[in-house]
Amino acid sequence: MFKPREGAVKRRRTAAAPDADPSPAAERPRRSGPITGPKHMRRYVITMSALVITALGLTFGIMTWDNPAETGSRPWWLIVDMRRDSLITIGVVALCHAVSTVAFQTAVNNRILTPGIMGFGSLYTAIQTTAVFLLGAGGATALVGVGPFLLQMLAMMVLATLLYTWLLSGRFSNIHIMLLVGVVIGGVLGSLSNFMQRILTPSEFDVLTARLFGNISNARADYLPYAIPMVIAAVALIWLRANTLNTIALGRTTAQNLGLNYKRELIIVMALVSLLVAVATALVGPMMFLGFLAATLAYQFGDTYSHRMLFPMAVLFAYTILAASYFILRHIWDAGGAVTVIVELIGGLVFLIVLMRKGRL
């Protein structure tokens, strides 16, 4: 995908050579595009290559590190297969969080807010808890398989889209109020879930915890067969809207001036984002800061408006961060269950640092 751009940069470089003589700027080919020059291009390619190499290295490391069985034997392959599920989960979660956060931040025109902070994860927890609360343990255990999973995702999409398009439709012109409302919504939904969980019978609660608190070592791999096609479809739809997203990033009035149906685009983005967050939450539980971390790094290193360039970089950052924590915690410290906790800790710290340095929302 970078080939033609590289060509364009080369043309520019060769043509820029006579730039040394004081001929006017009109002489050199003037073109627009997400890459501003050879230096920018080089930085993007180097960052991407480094990320791809690190990601591949970590993948290989997680698969093979400290495998007690004899290399190539049947038990060795069994262990590798088990680890492969964790890796696929890491990949899906990284994809969901990175893409949803970048798309969400573009839609709300703010690079601090994330779906997690605005309470998307709490909404999912509340939906799950309500389901178990209303149906009881028997009913809830019956709710497995493709149909119910799709139904849950649909409920999440509808509720989140309604809630967040209402919240973001310009009713609260002030970003602080919007953030406050988002955090309060998250808190209220969290308390509501907590309240219902206290009323549940122990067996119902057991069913619920099994559903809610997945983690990477013990991911809900049974969800993967449905989750992966949904995630791929959602990411593909967002990818196809990349040019629209580039324009949405200019803010509501500019996007409207350029002929976008802003409200419709916002609803579409929110629906897709809520689906991605729901899948990620279903797999490994709520994570607030992974997406933030990945998106912030991608903006920093990518330094471009083009979502087609930001998305891959953010996904690679998310995968690298998650896989690296998993590798270290699982294989070196033997604390695989704590991966999301550690990532959230680091992500939360980075969030604070960015917020302090920026000094504003």
């Binding site: 700027a25 009109a26 003037r30 073109r31 627009s32 595009g33 997400p34 501003t36 020059g37 931040q105 573009t106 025109n109 703010n110 690079r111 990349a242 040019n243 629209t244 580039n246 324009t247 990033a249 200019l250 803010g251 009035t253 500019t254 409207q256 001036n257 350029l258 002929g259 976008l260 149906n261 330094d303 408006y305």
Partner: protein, 252 residues
């Protein structure tokens, strides 16, 4: 071919009400919207630019109803620039101006688009700055970059909400001259909200004066630049004297 407003009204609250306004802004030239703060100039401008919903009434631009015509069709007829522009993405001048081609290119810039972009940049004397990032520019230069973006959109109608805000004398004059040229040389219809009545008198062909949500005067600068008319528009004693380049309002 003109902008027509028929009984257009916007209710902010029971006490703050803009309109109903019925008027016609003719094609070609520069039309200035003037009036005291809160008169409804920006409201009317942003409603024409379909950035703000109309409560009652109808606005058509070149025969297209701005509410019912698809936004992407309007974007090829009319461009509108608000006062405040803040982007989360870091953009160079050229990238920003390139976004002006979005209604035509949908994000895939062709050679033809690049030509329009270069022309808009050259037109506003930004040629040497085109690879600079917006956050490296002064306020005046940035304002010019925004205007270059709406010019690159290549629409017959260009609406600007107080483009002289925060510009010093030199840059304000430069901006008005460039907008005048856009009207004269490129044949654009420029509608602009202005605070300085003298700027409006010198650079515009028509002045549309608003007060308390109503259009109270609409005419050529000569017709508006009279002691009694200006005094009633601005609630301030204003004397018009003959300056070297036309009438001047003196209000201090």
């Amino acid at each position: 071919m003109s902008i027509t407003l028929t009984d257009v009204a916007k209710d902010y609250s029971s006490s703050v009400k803009i309109g109903p306004v019925t008027t016609e802004i003719q094609s070609g030239g520069v039309t200035a919207l003037v009036g005291p703060n809160g008169a409804g100039k920006s409201t009317i401008l942003t409603m024409i630019g379909r950035l703000l919903d109309i409560d009652t009434g109808e606005i058509t631009v070149a025969g297209h109803d701005v509410v019912n015509t698809p936004s992407k069709t309007i974007a090829k007829i009319l461009s509108v620039l608000r006062q405040e522009n803040h982007f989360v993405t870091r953009l160079t001048v050229r990238q920003l101006v390139g976004f002006g081609r979005f209604p035509h290119s949908k994000g895939r810039l062709t050679i033809g688009d690049e030509k329009y972009i270069s022309e808009a940049i050259d037109f506003l004397n930004l040629t040497d700055l085109e690879d600079r990032y917006l956050d490296q520019l002064s306020g005046g230069q940035r304002q010019r970059a925004y205007v270059a973006m709406v010019l690159a959109q290549n629409t017959d109608y260009v609406l600007l909400d107080e483009p002289l805000n925060n510009l010093d004398m030199q840059h304000a004059v430069q901006m008005m001259k460039q907008l005048r040229r856009a009207a004269d040389e490129l044949g654009r219809t420029v509608v602009i909200v202005l605070h300085d009545i003298n700027f409006a008198a010198h650079y515009s062909d028509k002045i549309l004066a608003m007060k308390d949500g109503q259009v109270i005067e609409h005419g050529t600068p000569r017709e508006i630049m009279r002691d009694d008319v200006l005094t009633s528009i601005f609630n301030t004693d204003i004397q018009v004297i003959e300056g070297p380049n036309g009438p001047l309002a003196v209000y201090y």
